[in-house]
């Protein structure tokens, strides 16, 4: 028996977008071993989906050779498709059919004999925990349940090779763990081979092997441990008594010999260029009392180090200029008993919290937790069904237009005018906020320079790489120097480098006194927030400093829980209480 389930050799694929040719994959050669779980990892636009679609025979490669289970995909696409299971990013569930009807449909489509169905259904329902919801419409399931149903439909006829394209995007941490255990049970029991793509770097550590893609090129294929091995002895956690981690991080970003600096709770995690314990006098001349502890490297450190090697060193944190009225620490956003109903459904169930000036405040939760609904109510885009809210003393929904002028807003998915150029977008948004003449020209120049958008000024916003879209959306929100920033999922889909850059900017703004309200479904980003609330099903599960929230989840087995551990502990605690 051949022990390679999938192999690609010198595969190249280009697409035409308008008049520009985009290379999605450039000479990629990988092998996926039979019976393994291989992770396909890379930022958005790395070519993950293209690779999946090529392997499933849904696209034809421009050059190179792809073999699946010993068959040439180019020659026998139908035979390949009947032997594999492929779950695309948006799996085609029929939302108006029930869970059971969806399963029946896919069993019919894949020609599963009727005699085998009852047994297989029972197995899948048990595995996914969907058994009690057989009659519920698929459209009424939560995001995590939908993904599990999609996976069950893909597995209804056990395939030999399973291709999963970002199965865990937007899924809450509990459902993510369940999806992973389903995947592993299939590999162990049925001897299935799984190729799974993901943008969550922490998931890489759960794979037997990892394929790392970046901008269509293969950066490596190794075990997760082998990826982080070169970083042994290069990762440390630092702490300066009495200094906020954010300010320490800003200092360390500029320190010599530091490749990466990341806030981790009340400490800062750094990756150095060389494997020696850094000298405090050199690292932070102003703070010789800094405490430096070596820590084991993780996959994200390795990933960032590789990309930095690849793309060159990171730039300086940007200059910000804001005029903030009022004192730091003053209450800026107040939410009391806020409620929102859609028909019978209570999306937000009477939540309360306050945000002080100069804080970075996080709204964390999975898709459907109610954070976007809360966010839209705060921005005045959605009327509240009950309760009070005030942003800088106003309800933005009823406030005069001028009150909105002190707020900057960055919409989900970096909404910009796709067929306007970068410059036209910036010009429009600055005009909409009343900037004109010399002041406008100055701010335009500031945006182009600070966000390094100069090379793209005449490119349509829709054609920008995602990381640049994020920069442009952020720049557009900052044109009028707002005192309060609303940032809705500002880091979703962008690679770790762009995420670091984004947080460096936000930190600098917060240092200057700007208040930022951020939603995110990346649990680890909670560490950047001064305070946060964790939401689930329209309720606030916890509020406080990220460090305190994590400390609540501390157990004898897990003395240093991650934010994800804390989240899962909170959700499970709530379920037990119910």
């Amino acid at each position: 028996m051949n022990d390679t389930a999938l192999s690609l050799d010198g595969v190249r694929k280009t697409f035409l977008s308008g008049r520009r040719e985009i290379t999605a994959l450039d000479g990629v050669g990988v092998r996926v071993k039979s019976g393994s779980v291989t992770g396909l990892i890379g930022p958005d636009g790395a070519g993950k989906t293209t690779l999946m679609r090529l392997a499933a025979g849904l696209l034809a490669a421009d050059a190179g050779h792809i073999e699946v289970l010993g068959m040439d995909v180019a020659r026998e696409p139908l035979a390949v498709q009947s032997a594999i299971g492929y779950m695309p990013q948006r799996f085609g569930l029929y939302e108006d059919l029930s869970v059971q009807e969806n399963l029946n449909l896919y069993a019919d489509l894949q020609g599963v004999p009727r005699s085998m169905r009852p047994e297989r259904y029972a197995e899948l329902m048990k595995m996914t925990g969907l058994a009690p919801f057989g009659k519920r419409l698929a459209g009424q399931l939560s995001g995590g349940m939908k993904q599990k149903l999609g996976l069950a439909c893909t597995l209804v006829r056990p395939p030999r090779l399973l291709l999963l394209d970002e199965p865990t995007v937007g899924v809450d941490p509990v459902s993510r763990r369940e999806l992973w255990s389903i995947v592993y049970s299939q590999v162990e029991q049925a001897g299935m081979t799984v190729l799974l793509s993901t943008a969550y770097l922490d998931e890489a550590e759960r794979c037997t092997e990892v394929i790392l893609l970046h901008e269509g090129r293969l950066l490596g294929q190794e075990t997760p441990a082998a990826f982080s091995a070169p970083l042994a002895g290069r990762t440390f956690e630092l702490h300066v008594e009495g200094m906020p981690a954010r300010r320490l991080q800003a200092l360390l970003m500029r320190a010599p010999g530091v490749l990466d600096a990341l806030v981790a709770g009340d400490r800062v995690r750094i990756v150095t260029e060389k494997a020696i314990v850094p000298d405090p006098a050199q690292l932070l001349p102003a703070h010789p009392e800094v405490q430096i502890d070596p820590v084991p490297p993780n996959f994200e450190d390795a990933f960032v180090a590789r990309l930095r090697d690849h793309d060159g060193a990171h730039g300086q944190p940007p200059a910000v200029s804001v005029k903030v009225r009022g004192a730091t620490g003053e209450e800026v956003i107040r939410v009391h008993n806020l409620e929102r109903r859609f028909g019978d459904f209570r999306a937000v169930k009477g939540i309360s919290f306050t945000v002080k000036r100069g804080e970075i405040f996080g709204l964390l939760g999975a898709n459907g937790a109610g954070k976007t609904t809360t966010f839209r109510m705060l921005c005045g885009l959605l009327p509240a069904s009950g309760g009070d809210l005030a942003v800088a003393g106003h309800d933005l929904r009823r406030a005069a237009a001028r009150a909105r002028g002190s707020v900057g807003y960055m919409a989900q998915r970096f909404s910009l005018y796709a067929n306007l150029t970068v410059m036209q977008n910036l010009r429009f948004f600055s005009s909409a906020y009343g900037l004109r003449n010399r002041h406008q020209r100055e701010r335009l120049a500031w945006a182009l320079e600070n966000f390094e958008l100069g090379d793209y000024r005449d490119v349509n916003a829709g054609l920008l790489p995602l990381g640049y879209k994020q920069r442009l959306a952020f720049a557009a929100a900052l044109m009028h120097q707002p005192e309060i920033l609303f940032l809705d999922e500002p880091t979703s889909g962008v690679d770790p480098l762009a995420r670091r850059e984004f947080w460096a900017r936000t930190n600098a703004l917060a240092e200057a006194g700007v208040t930022a309200l951020v939603t995110t479904h990346f649990m680890e980003e909670a560490n950047y927030c001064d305070r946060l609330v964790i939401m689930a099903e329209g309720e606030v599960l916890a509020e406080g400093h990220p460090y305190d929230i994590r400390r609540q989840a501390r157990t004898p087995d897990n003395p240093e829980p991650t934010m994800e551990d804390a989240f899962i502990a909170l959700v499970q605690g709530r379920e037990q209480a119910a």
Binding site: Y409, L416, Y417, N419, L420, Q424, A432
Partner: protein, 369 residues
């Protein structure tokens, strides 16, 4: 105008003109509709296919047949010798009309007795059949008069003398093409504005727009302006072609025409924006626009007279801005109307425009989930 509204209007123009598909919407329909309506759509019937079944051998029958064959309206495609030949010709739609002259036609005429002419028509399309029959009646009328004059008899006691005012030749292009000005301007303006808010909603930029200090009224003006400007351009393009290419006389006051056009565009833009703020996706917006367009065109009197509609439906036509504008555009083109005569067409459009714009502005903020 305040600077930020102008910025919004400029942005709307850029978004429209930089998108190849939107550009096509602006250029494609005017050309296609002008060709379709300018050349293909006509109420006049030419080249009616005719078969002749003549059992008579006299000169009178030959003369009558020569008159039919010589008419521009008719085209003789078959000569029959047996009655059985009629059925297949009509059944297979080879002819619309069969002209049958009995064996005693000429003899009866000479004797001064009534001589009958039989016309067998394909009644499946009643309108065409009636038109063909009317042309045949005209020919027969002239034939009778000439025959009587030659025989020295008195002609028929009363004779119809016809003069058509405003359109002496009763050329149906003169009726249809000014109508296209209204029809086409409505289509383009409605589609352009219906897409404008829906496109932003679909791309998620509408939220971004609502959180700026722009007030709903200002957004409304910024979004309405491009529709009005584009509509004015489209209408001017067709008016110029109507006069220079199709030779339609423009007899009235241009100022009166453009006043009507502006009010008409205001109502079209209002309805377009209203549809757009209800729709969540561009697809819904286009569908909504056509849901309005089809009844609006039928109820406007563009092709079928409003006076022929049932009374309840006639009341409904008062809600249709195209109804008023068609009266204005046809009035100015053919009748030479000025402001005074058209005032009662202006104010209903102004009301429709105001109400629909106000509704659209309200929907901006209230229809968002």
């Amino acid at each position: 105008m305040p600077w930020h509204i102008l910025a919004l209007a400029i942005k709307e123009f850029l978004a429209l003109l930089r998108d190849p598909r939107s550009r096509l919407v602006l250029i494609g329909p005017p050309i296609a509709q002008l060709i379709v309506f300018g050349y293909a759509a006509s109420f006049d019937l030419n080249h009616v296919t005719v078969a002749i079944y003549n059992e008579d051998t006299g000169g009178a029958s030959r003369e009558l047949i020569a008159r039919v064959a010589g008419s521009p309206h008719f085209e003789v495609v078959a000569q029959l010798t047996r009655e059985a030949g009629i059925t297949p010709l009509i059944d297979n739609k080879r002819v619309l009309l069969v002209l049958h002259l009995g064996p005693r036609f000429s003899a009866n005429l000479r004797l001064g007795k009534p001589a009958s002419v039989q016309a067998i028509l394909d009644g499946r399309n009643s309108n065409t059949a009636m038109l063909g029959l009317n042309y045949l009646r005209d020919i027969l009328l002239v034939f009778n008069r000439d025959w009587a004059a030659r025989q020295g008899r008195r002609g028929p006691p009363a004779v119809l003398q016809m003069r058509a005012w405003y359109n002496a030749d009763l050329n149906s292009h003169w009726f249809i093409i000014p109508g296209i000005v209204g029809l086409l301007t409505l289509v383009v303006t409605l589609v352009v504005t219906a897409l404008s808010v829906a496109r932003e909603r679909e791309q998620g930029t509408f939220d971004q727009l609502l959180v700026t200090p722009l007030r709903p009224v200002e957004i409304l003006i910024g979004k309405a302006l491009p529709g009005v400007v584009i509509g004015t351009f489209e209408a001017t393009f067709i008016i110029v072609l109507a006069v220079l290419w199709f030779d339609i006389p423009l007899r009235g006051d241009i100022g009166a025409l453009y006043t009507g056009l502006l009010l008409f565009l205001l109502s079209a833009v209002g309805i377009g924006l209203m549809i757009s703020s209800i729709a969540v996706t561009q697809q819904q917006a286009v569908l909504g626009a056509f849901l309005f367009l089809v009844p609006a065109v039928i109820l406007s009197g563009f092709a079928t007279p409003i006076a022929n509609m049932p009374e309840a439906v006639q009341w409904l036509t008062y809600l249709d801005p195209l109804r008023y504008f068609l009266i204005i555009v046809r009035g100015v083109f053919l009748e030479g109307d000025g402001f005074g005569l058209l005032i009662h067409q202006y104010w209903p459009m102004a009301i429709i425009g105001m109400v629909s714009l106000a509704a659209a502005g309200w929907l901006f903020r209230h229809r968002m989930y």
